[in-house]
């Protein structure tokens, strides 16, 4: 059970990391449009470049 002394603090770090990642994603505008990307990925839209 001693491993818990490592795992519990680790889980805390992980939670903070996920929170930070999400925070950045929100600020980057990734949640501003939740419908468009779903369609964009289905569409065959390779541009002739």
């Amino acid at each position: 059970m001693d491993i818990l002394f490592l795992l519990i603090p680790l889980s805390l770090v992980l939670a903070v990391a996920i929170g930070a990642a999400f925070w950045i994603a929100v600020d980057g505008g990734q949640f501003d449009d939740l419908d468009g990307p779903a369609v964009r990925v289905v569409a065959d839209d390779d541009l002739p470049r």
């Binding site: 059970m1 818990l4 002394f5 519990i8 603090p9 889980s11 805390l12 939670a15 996920i18 929170g19 999400f22 925070w23 929100v26 600020d27 949640f31 501003d32 449009d33 939740l34 419908d35 468009g36 779903a38 369609v39 964009r40 289905v42 569409a43 065959d44 839209d45 541009l47």
Partner: protein, 789 residues
């Protein structure tokens, strides 16, 4: 067969309803974007405007305009946000994005469906007008987007709310991980040091949830207390605070129970409800943006007081005192005063009234109106935020902040309930203190949490949110808070005939050639004369003569109030009033076939050639809609200012028995009052500001939004599709919402009546209280979502 592009009925043998749709579909196919038709889940908007380039497009390339709207990036490219018109589904967003990306010189294009905005990055070498034209070619409108203060605030609010929600959600999940072992482990199965570690971990993760995520509740509670009121936030804040403080104390001292899991879950569920409410508000806000369309882009300013020489400038740069030339068919760029010469102005955008109104020197002009007569000069009086259009828009913004009556009532009841909860919690704590001091605090927290009035607070807004979403899908946009409840309670529905049950624009009912004139030739001539004119009747002729051979015309002249004349193959023809045409040939007036209504005549120097009869046709779906409304138990009335002939005809076709013709506004108000005196709740369907007094007298008013964007502001709701069928569906949605609100309130009351005594008796631990509260909220939310069905 329905139009392949917009889904409206198309003529037999054709895949499209109009040349506009056909051109747009052609453009979409030409770009290799045919996938659009496979991906979309809503028919496209019918292209409202001609697809060709428009004069104000050139303004987009004007350096000051670019400087105002576009940002210059480090690599030398420009970036701009365009507000899009006509987006119906996510596939539309994709289509616009692709169409823009295929314009040479565009580096990046990004369309947000939710925001209805396109962000485009492009080489300065490519004119912006080309990008806007490309968007128009596939059937959408676009204009540079100016960040309004409100939108900025709203976007910031939404992000903050999302962050708070996520922090709470993450905290909740992780804290639960630390809490569950303590619940399921038997006595002595977890060593004291590990249990303490888990408690500390829970404390650490609860800290941001309470300190950051729950901050709005503390602020709200503080504001309520300062104002001497008891709102929903007070017990919420108190419950969170007491539970957290006691748990933290237990963690530090290592004695007593901790309920970090209850605290975090509680905060998360509350924030979730608030976030949904925020989204609904934002959706209502996007209707606002559509009003911005009434603004005019360019103006022709007179350079000198004496000459008619003009300089085209962006309308935004006009200042009061400027003198502006408004040509035939162009829009009045700002509010002002007519200088002359006398002309006619159509205020259809404001009133829905398509008939042009005479304006003499000195008369007031409203920005956005269209010059339907000859060119005139006006003096600008008010620009920008001071114009009628802008103030109407502000009215709508304010309307959005209205508290619906249901919500207000729930809040008042909530206030009393909160007081009761606080007293009950305090009494329970005091009572238990004498019996078992150890449990007193926790029982008080249980009472606070379990009775948390969220079921009560969520019941109404959730149903309203779901209902406004469902209504928006039927193109019915609510502009005033209480509209849904009043719509649900309506017993009588009054149609104002003009434009509500009929097409609202003139249509050719009969085209009759005179003896000795072939019909086909007459149609070609009429279409040729009407084509260059923008008069509604001429437009109707062009629509009716669609497909005829195009004859070349020269010396086309518009005679306001009379008609048009032009040379075709060297002969002079006139189309217009009988007197105007008769003046050309001097022949006596001839009788035409029966039927009343507006008429136009066609003639040349040797006599009459043809006559055209116009009328207002019934909307195709009107009959079914009126039947549906009657089936829903509504009494349907028709009040119209038109003559008895057309009104009886419409009423008979629709089976409406209560029809009043030649109704003046006063008469309409009296009629509505009489109905109300008999206990009826009257829903009024109008189409413009000209029926504003009647709309105000009615219990709930609905504006048809197609022609008259700004008229929307006077009404409680706007029907964007103009379809009476959507109206019938809207009323049934509103009624379902009302039923669900009642169920939800009943549930909330029953739940509280059962759990409060249990919590006071000490049978409910804070965790169970939290779960019970959460399930109760979920029941309410789930029930509310049934409105969408």
């Amino acid at each position: 067969m329905d139009c392949a592009h917009c889904g409206l009925p198309a003529p037999e043998g054709s895949s499209f309803c109009c040349p506009g749709c056909e051109a747009v579909a052609g453009a979409i196919g030409g770009l290799g974007l045919g996938d659009f038709y496979r991906l979309r889940d809503a028919a496209a908007a019918r292209p409202a405007r001609p697809v060709q380039a428009r004069p104000e497009d050139a303004l987009l390339d004007d350096a000051p305009t670019l400087a105002r709207h576009a940002r210059k990036l480090e690599d030398g490219t420009l970036e701009i946000e365009l507000l899009l018109e006509g987006l119906r589904c996510a596939a539309c967003a994709w289509l616009v994005e692709q169409a823009v990306a295929r314009v040479p010189g565009v580096r990046e294009s990004n369309v947000g469906f939710a925001t209805r905005r396109a962000r485009v990055r492009w080489d300065p070498a490519t004119p912006l007008s080309k990008i806007v034209t490309a968007i128009r070619a596939v059937g959408y409108g676009a204009w540079p987007y100016e960040h309004g203060r409100i939108e900025m605030v709203e976007a910031g609010e939404r992000r903050t709310a999302l962050r708070r929600l996520w922090v709470a959600g993450l905290g909740m999940m992780q804290v639960m991980m630390y809490a569950v072992p303590a619940y399921i482990a038997g006595e002595g199965e977890i060593t004291a040091d590990i249990e303490s570690l888990m408690r500390w971990a829970g404390l650490v993760l609860t800290l941001p949830v309470v300190g950051y995520s729950a901050a709005p509740f503390f602020r709200g509670a503080w504001r309520e207390l300062v104002r001497g009121r008891l709102g929903m936030d007070v017990p919420v804040a108190l419950g969170i605070l007491v539970a957290f403080a006691a748990s933290a104390w237990a963690t530090v001292t290592g004695a007593g129970a901790v309920y970090f899991d209850s605290v975090t879950m509680f905060v998360f569920l509350l924030l979730g409800g608030r976030y949904l409410e925020l989204l609904a508000r934002a959706r209502a806000g996007s209707a606002l943006q559509r009003l911005a369309r009434a603004e005019v882009a360019s103006a022709e300013r007179l350079v000198a007081p004496t000459s008619l020489e003009t300089l085209t400038i962006p309308a935004a740069r006009l200042v009061p005192g400027d003198r502006v030339l408004v040509r035939t068919g162009e829009a009045v760029p700002a509010d002002g005063e007519m200088e002359g010469p006398p002309s006619e102005v159509s205020e259809a955008w404001l009133s829905g009234e398509s008939r042009a109104l005479a304006r003499r020197p000195g008369d007031a002009l409203t920005g956005g109106s269209v010059n339907a007569g000859r060119a005139f000069v006006m003096r600008v009086k008010r620009v920008g935020d001071d114009t009628a259009a802008a103030s109407l828009r502000r009215l709508m913004e304010r309307a959005l902040e209205d508290r619906p009556h249901w919500v207000a009532a729930a809040e008042r009841a909530g206030g009393a309930f909160v007081a009761f909860v606080l007293v009950a919690a305090a009494a329970a704590a005091a009572g238990w203190w004498s019996v078992d001091p150890q449990r007193a605090v926790w029982i008080a927290v249980s009472v606070l949490v379990v009775t948390c009035p969220c079921a009560l607070a969520l019941a109404t807004p959730m149903a309203l949110v779901a209902a406004s979403g469902a209504l928006a899908r039927r193109h019915l946009v609510i502009t005033r808070g209480g509209a849904i409840e009043r719509l649900a309670g309506a017993t009588d529905l009054v149609f104002d005939k003009t434009g509500t049950l009929t097409e609202g624009r003139p249509r050719v009912l009969a085209f009759q050639a005179m003896r000795g004139h072939p019909l086909e030739r007459a149609r070609e001539l009429a279409a040729a004369l009407a084509r260059p004119s923008s008069h509604p009747l001429d437009r109707a002729i062009v629509r009716a003569c669609d497909g005829v051979r195009e004859l070349p015309v020269s010396d086309h002249r518009n005679v306001p109030g009379d008609g048009v004349e032009a040379l075709v193959d060297g002969r002079l023809y006139r189309l217009g009033r009988a007197s105007f045409v008769a003046a050309l040939h001097g022949r006596p007036f001839v009788a035409a076939d029966g039927g009343d209504g507006t008429r136009a005549w066609l003639g040349d120097e040797s006599g009459w050639i043809a006559t055209v009869r116009f009328g207002d046709a019934l909307r195709p779906e009107a009959r079914a809609a009126v039947d549906a409304l009657r089936d829903a138990g509504l009494r349907v009335h028709l009040l119209s200012g038109d003559g008895p002939g057309p009104v009886t005809a419409v009423a008979a076709q629709l089976g409406i028995t209560q029809a009043v013709a030649q109704a003046t506004p006063q008469r309409k108000i009296d009629h509505v009052r009489t109905l109300q005196a008999r206990g009826a709740r009257v829903a009024m369907v109008g189409d413009g500001v000209n029926d504003a007094p009647v709309l105000a007298q009615s219990d709930v008013s609905i504006a048809m939004g197609g022609g008259a964007d700004l008229a929307q502001l006077r009404a409680d709701a706007v029907l964007l599709s103009d379809s009476p069928a959507d109206l019938a569906a809207g009323i049934s949605i509103a009624r379902r919402a009302r039923a669900i609100v009642r169920q939800n309130l009943a549930w909330a009351l029953a739940y509280n009546a059962i759990v409060v005594p249990m919590a006071i008796a000490g049978w409910v631990t804070p965790l169970v209280a939290g779960i019970a509260m959460a399930s109760s909220s979920l029941v309410v939310v789930g029930n509310a979502l049934r409105v969408r069905r």
